[in-house]
Symmetry: C2
Subunit: 436 residues, 2 copies
Amino acid sequence: MREVVIGLLGAGNVGGGVVRILQENQADIERRLGASVRVKKILVRSLERQRDGMVPAELLTTDPRDVLEDPEIRIVVELIGGIEPALTMVLDALGRSKHVVTANKALMATHGEVLFAEAQRRGVAINFEAAVAGGIPILRALREGLASDRIERITGIVNGTCNYILDAMSRTGAAYDDALKDAQSAGFAEADPTLDVEGGDAAQKLSLLALLGFGQRIDPAAIPTEGITRVRPFDIAAADGLGYVIKSLAEARQTPQGPVLSVHPVLVPKEHILATVRGSYNAVLVESRAMGRSLYHGRGAGPMPTGMAVVSDIIELCRHMFAFDAGRPPPEAFSTIEHATPLPMTEQAHENYLCVHVTNVPGILGRVASCLGRHGVSVKRLEQDLRGEGEPVDMVVVTERVPESKVHGAVTEIDGFDDVLAPTHRFRIREPDAID
Amino acid sequence: MREVVIGLLGAGNVGGGVVRILQENQADIERRLGASVRVKKILVRSLERQRDGMVPAELLTTDPRDVLEDPEIRIVVELIGGIEPALTMVLDALGRSKHVVTANKALMATHGEVLFAEAQRRGVAINFEAAVAGGIPILRALREGLASDRIERITGIVNGTCNYILDAMSRTGAAYDDALKDAQSAGFAEADPTLDVEGGDAAQKLSLLALLGFGQRIDPAAIPTEGITRVRPFDIAAADGLGYVIKSLAEARQTPQGPVLSVHPVLVPKEHILATVRGSYNAVLVESRAMGRSLYHGRGAGPMPTGMAVVSDIIELCRHMFAFDAGRPPPEAFSTIEHATPLPMTEQAHENYLCVHVTNVPGILGRVASCLGRHGVSVKRLEQDLRGEGEPVDMVVVTERVPESKVHGAVTEIDGFDDVLAPTHRFRIREPDAID
């Protein structure tokens, strides 16, 4: 199998996530790409530090030249963060005609222009999907999915720390300081949370959203930015009484006079789709002329979602490299497609809603319940209006999670009862999938 | 400026949308692409039919060869729908090494394999983002954004007609037949709605989602499919009482035994993110190993959203063609990036939430209100607890939409009042953006 050799700059949280995804999802990645991705070298500050067990010690180096100057390495993945030494190393990699993937929002928001110019000069690409909203493919949506549309407005909940704190304040009535402490102990806020809670992080991300959505380069420092530190429990309660929740929004809008951008706490109507974004989740709402509103929602941070976005960028670069080598467009989603037949639903298990239409005779409830029990269908809830004896009534049953075949057997038997007036209605119930 | 010449097969609703987007968004498309897209020929069944005023009559032809055999046309856009004659024409276009963009879910779900093989043989691409969920870039998300992840489950609300009908039944208590009639007169259901309401349309889309997400080809006819026709107002009311809403879900899941797919009405917990999908909107929830849950939400049908997806596919093809010609990776989102400075927020207008912390003295409410009035800040709502005279109280004000400068002026004056005990708290209010 063809192999692409890559080098990593940095092996912190996201670096650990990248290594883990390349290993855990190796078979899937190879099937999608028709090639394997091999990490050859990983630059670290110290060889001594304790790391994620999946980061192989023999690949570590403290010399950037081991990554940057290795001719076999075609893609350099920058995960150091901050401006220097990341900027110098990325420029060096591009200068050697290596493709670059980075998760560095500060770098891209403040020095993107010089990096794009150098990449173009060298005929290579620089991908940075992971820099905004972690694993949510919002930059791709703006660059490709909505490429034919006129983007009018972008509204993002792009800082998980702020959303986590405001959401906790809304749910528990906690004061800002207490919610911050909780967020810190839960790992959703840094020891020094300034960049997050004062809006600086969101302003950098907003600058990148405006770059991809409007084709405008806007200095993050020029974006009016207000943090969440002055939001009080009183404001949250008053907003709640008025029908709003307080969210930290990063907004960019085109007007005939020019772009309007801001990062600020905003009262959002409770029925608004952005009001439903919970905990550390991120979401970006895009308003565009032909499409109207579209929303992209998911985990905006964390080693695995961010690492996933980095590795997806690597895969895209590989596809383009292969396509150029072969003189044809990039391959489809998978290098090989297999034929498959869906499993029969009868082998699946679900919770069920049953509506049994019966004559309300004494004992009918018990007969239905024991029939279900005989077939191994555990009942979670059974409701029947006991008034109107002799009248037709609807008995509503909610079952536990049981195999379809058992439900089917029970319903077939029940539908044969003399007192059952119509075939039993059955719908499956979706599990809650609570968003944390 | 460089020009890409394309030909259209079909000029129905989506075709009209494609022509309209190419015209209305022309400047934006040219800025993104650094090239213009010109429609040279449009195949129609009859030259006589009345059409969208934007479809230029002089481009129409009834002879497919005018599109398929024109060597200048590099991209053929198939918008006829159904299997034949679309299949024959698309194979013909690919056979002539023309790239193809299509919105045809039936064609791709049932004959995708032969089309992919022919495209690969000819070194061209076939793009079909518009075939699933209209303008929502879900196929791109599966192909690229989540390419490094293991996709475990995909759950879609991918049929706008079903969601519109079920949503109407939930909101109004209407019976299925009445809700269908309403949907038909509102343009959200066909005169013959069978393919939508019986789930066949969703099964075709689910087959394509499984193709891109799992790399598995699954015959839509093999997917267990139940329509929404047996959902009764009683079921919706009973589900509501139990904490659920009924949605038509298209689900695909990987299990160790094989794929499980189904299209069926399901009880979804009200707090579930899929329960919030209203009217004719579509949404796809993807669950994958590293990323967890991500959601893609927007308009799944209609000439403009679907046309937008088609034109975005055209742009992607153009970028790849240019990149190959230039021997370098595809260009960035925009061919030129402009520098921009955000407008000052003081020139913007918003609704506002104000919290004025005052000593509760007689007349203070009137003084605050008249100060706001003097500055031109209209008040929508003003609440003050009148108990506790002489005590500190929080007066909550909701303003109409007013320029920031006026609010700022009024707040500055109010904060100078003797009885005001702390700087007034102000947050902006997001407009409702009701999802229809």
